[in-house]
């Protein structure tokens, strides 16, 4: 009887450890290595939603149900990551292709508003937006219609938000629709 109890405890302990390494349902990555992905991570935490966050996520690391790609180019961030713009776009292309192949839902987010637009960011927007299933864009980010134009054919829904704190509402709605409850 004692040995059965020991085995039960051991199994429970093992399951606990295994549980700790279970992947979350959401993968969070950056497109352009700005700190904006980190801000979305904070918003997700406030919503009580866990996400596996890796700004340099590669296709082989994608095991989740949902991929959130936070778009925003930062030459400082790219430099710190030791990559250039073209390498980042190549990584994103491969990741988005893998997501599509695995039927992973893709949510593209642009939370930096007008300040996170410009030549560099626009290249990442162009690389990511057409692949998204849904978009969340903070005010000012789509003032010139770049997201609208890139998603016209696919008729991708674009959710607006007044600022980065305000992305919580559309994020919660989208995640709920995709089966992830949030606070």
């Amino acid at each position: 009887m004692v040995s059965v109890r020991k085995v039960f405890v051991a199994v429970c302990v093992l399951l606990c450890f295994a549980g700790a390494s279970f992947a979350a349902d959401i993968a969070l990555t950056s497109a352009g290595q700005s700190p904006d992905a980190m801000m979305v991570r904070v918003v997700l935490k406030k919503l009580g939603v866990e996400a596996d966050s890796d700004p340099l996520m590669k296709p082989e690391g994608l095991t989740q149900k949902i991929l959130i790609v936070v778009i925003g180019g930062s030459s400082k961030g790219l430099g710190a990551a030791g990559i250039d713009k073209d390498q980042e776009i190549a990584r994103l292309s491969a990741l988005l292709k893998a997501a599509a192949g695995k039927n992973v839902k893709i949510l593209a987010m642009h939370v930096g508003g007008e300040g996170r637009r410009g030549k560099l960011s626009d290249e990442f927007i162009t690389a990511v937006a057409p692949a998204a299933d849904k978009l969340v864009v903070v005010e000012g980010g789509n003032a010139d219609g770049i997201f609208t134009n890139l998603t016209k054919e696919k008729k991708t829904p674009i959710h607006g938000a007044p600022n980065v704190s305000g992305v919580a509402a559309p994020l919660k709605e989208i995640l709920a629709e995709w089966g992830i409850p949030a606070k």
Binding site: P35, R116, S165
Partner: protein
């Protein structure tokens, strides 16, 4: 307030002669003026002028207000330089309150690959130099001011307690530094509910207000020996540094003679080492003086080619000779000598582009000159630091450039007192053999160059300076040439697109051209053989504030850089 409104009434919009320049807004006033990188800081300085304070009183008020409204760029956790011209004596002095390395510093402290990978010179406690700003402010007030710290701190205190509105550009800066701030100062006021403070937020800084009150009550000892010193040491060491209260207690300000030079009869007074700026502004202008710049079209291919080549020669010298003069003999006279510049200018060929750029030999122009080696610099991308200029009704002039180095410095904000600690240790060389390697008590090499220029009749002409790391030197030389050679107003001169061409290690860097330069000129420069890149109009090329004296109308003409939030205010 009425007088400020009157001044607003005097505001004159001047259309730039060059269509490519950004919005040009010169502000004119009769009685006094402050031009800083934030309107509220300029107003703080003018408030003190209106209360009867002199230019130095107003300068300290501006400096403190900048700490509140532009805390990312400068403040009491950093250092800087102040150039002061006394209207009665015409004497010009430079206060050097640059940070120094703590006693724990070693030449090889940032030399290892592990240290470089962890960015120890940039982030956290090891990056922090012993701040000099508070000593600088008190020394300036005591010797050259008329008011008490409590009086000049009033506007800044009000701003810190009542708050100010976060501008979209500031939201972007906080966002860009979000990772650093989240790591080292997650509870700071710039992060609201876990996220960067958003535009439109009213940002209050009660801890900083408390610090100002303590300084007003107990003087600089509160910072260097008292409770603030305890908090600084604790914050630095908690973040991985090794600073002691002795480091703070032993900090000493240096009053220096300015570097002097001339450009086409105008006299230049700027900052000697620990800044390389003044000396190399003079060198660059000396080289350019040998060419008929005023006869060329502004920002034409001929103009920019010559300027780029001259910059390479100057930066090659900077890399070879400059360091803290307390530790190294620097051939300041030779580098600023017109004969030496003429020799350097002889190397410039109109249809050839220098790829190899060796340092010159100023020893013929100054005995005892010695070559040094391996400075850092040139590749820095940061656009931090803040310059302001002040003129009072008596004609006293201040030019002051201050910094915490990178935006939000080391990321360490002293929690109890709410000010950013610098990351000035990053201005030292990583190579332990360099003359600019860290050593206890040493000042890292700077490019900050608060500069005062007098005209051919020895009357005050311009007070100006800039942010922008090594680009400060090239920016200020270009602005002065825009005024002297091309007859521009202060703001016209500041808003023109600029170029930057670095050289180090014997090699020329890329010619970087700011958007706004005629694309045809860019093509012509390419044809000449320049390896070039056009970059967006922005802070990379330096952000400058300045005030010019217009002796025809007996008014002050203020300019401030649209690459930043600069606004001149006069009365």
């Amino acid at each position: 307030m009425k007088r400020i409104l009157v001044c607003v009434g005097l505001l004159v919009l001047v259309v730039a002669c060059a269509a490519s320049a950004a919005d040009v807004v010169d502000v004119r006033a009769k009685n006094g003026m402050v031009s800083s990188a934030h309107e509220l800081a300029s107003k703080a300085g003018v408030e003190i002028l209106e209360k009867g304070g002199n230019a130095v009183d107003a300068a300290i008020a501006t400096q403190l207000a900048l700490n509140v409204v532009e805390p990312n760029a400068s403040g009491i956790g950093g250092g800087g330089f102040m150039t002061i011209r006394n209207a009665k004596t015409n004497e010009v002095v430079v206060l050097d309150y640059r940070e120094i390395a703590p006693q724990s510093a070693t030449k090889d402290m940032f030399a290892s690959e592990a240290s470089k990978k962890a960015k120890e010179s940039e982030l956290g406690g090891k990056a922090v130099g012993v701040p000099g700003a508070v000593k600088g402010m008190f020394a300036a007030l005591r010797k050259y001011g008329t008011m008490s710290f409590a009086q000049v701190a009033e506007p800044a205190l009000r701003l810190a307690e009542e708050g100010f509105e976060v501008h979209p550009m500031q939201q972007q800066i906080i966002t860009d530094e979000f990772e650093k701030l989240s790591k080292y100062s997650p509870t700071c006021v710039f992060i609201v509910d876990g996220l960067p403070a958003q535009k439109g937020t009213i940002l209050k800084q009660p801890q900083l207000a408390k610090t100002f009150r303590l300084l007003a009550k107990n003087g600089p000892d509160a910072f260097y020996k008292g409770p603030i010193a305890d908090a600084v040491v604790a914050a630095v060491n908690k973040a991985g540094g090794a600073m002691t209260k002795k480091d703070l207690a032993n900090y000493s300000l240096v009053e220096r003679e300015p570097v002097k030079g001339t450009y086409r009869g105008y006299s230049i007074y700027s900052v000697p080492p620990a800044s390389s700026g003044g000396t190399h502004i003079v060198e660059l202008l000396n080289i350019m003086e040998t060419f008929p710049v005023g006869k060329w079209k502004h920002n034409s291919a001929q103009h920019l080619h010559t300027l780029a080549e001259a910059m390479k020669l100057m930066y090659a010298d900077r890399g070879a000779f400059m360091a803290d003069t307390a530790f190294v003999k620097v051939p300041l006279k030779g580098l600023a000598d017109k004969g030496y510049a003429a020799k350097r200018a002889g190397l410039i060929k109109q249809m050839e582009v220098m790829k190899e750029v060796a340092a010159g030999d100023p020893s013929a122009f100054e005995k005892g000159a010695q070559k040094t080696a391996d400075l850092r610099g040139g590749g820095e991308k940061h656009i931090s630091t803040s310059h302001f200029s002040v003129v009072d009704a008596q004609g006293n002039i201040v030019a002051s450039t201050n910094t915490v180095n990178y935006f939000f410095g080391s990321g360490v904000i002293v929690p109890e007192y709410g000010f950013v600690l610098n990351n000035e240790m990053d201005d030292f060389a990583f190579n332990p053999k360099s003359v600019n390697a860290p050593e206890p008590g040493k000042r890292p090499l700077s490019s900050m160059s608060p500069t005062i220029v007098t005209d051919r009749e020895s009357r005050p002409f311009i007070t100006f300076g800039s942010a922008g790391a090594t680009r400060i030197i090239s920016a200020l030389a270009q602005i002065l040439m825009n005024v002297v050679d091309f007859g521009m107003t202060m703001d016209q001169a500041i808003e023109q697109p600029r170029i930057f061409n670095f050289a180090s290690g014997g090699k020329a860097g890329k010619l970087l051209i700011e958007t706004g330069v005629d694309p045809k000129v860019v093509d012509l420069l390419k044809l000449r053989g320049h390896d070039l890149e056009v970059r967006p109009f922005g802070g990379y090329f330096g952000t400058s504030q300045g005030i010019m004296f217009d002796w025809k109308t007996v008014t002050m003409d203020g300019g401030a850089d649209s690459r930043r939030l600069g606004v001149p205010v006069g009365y």
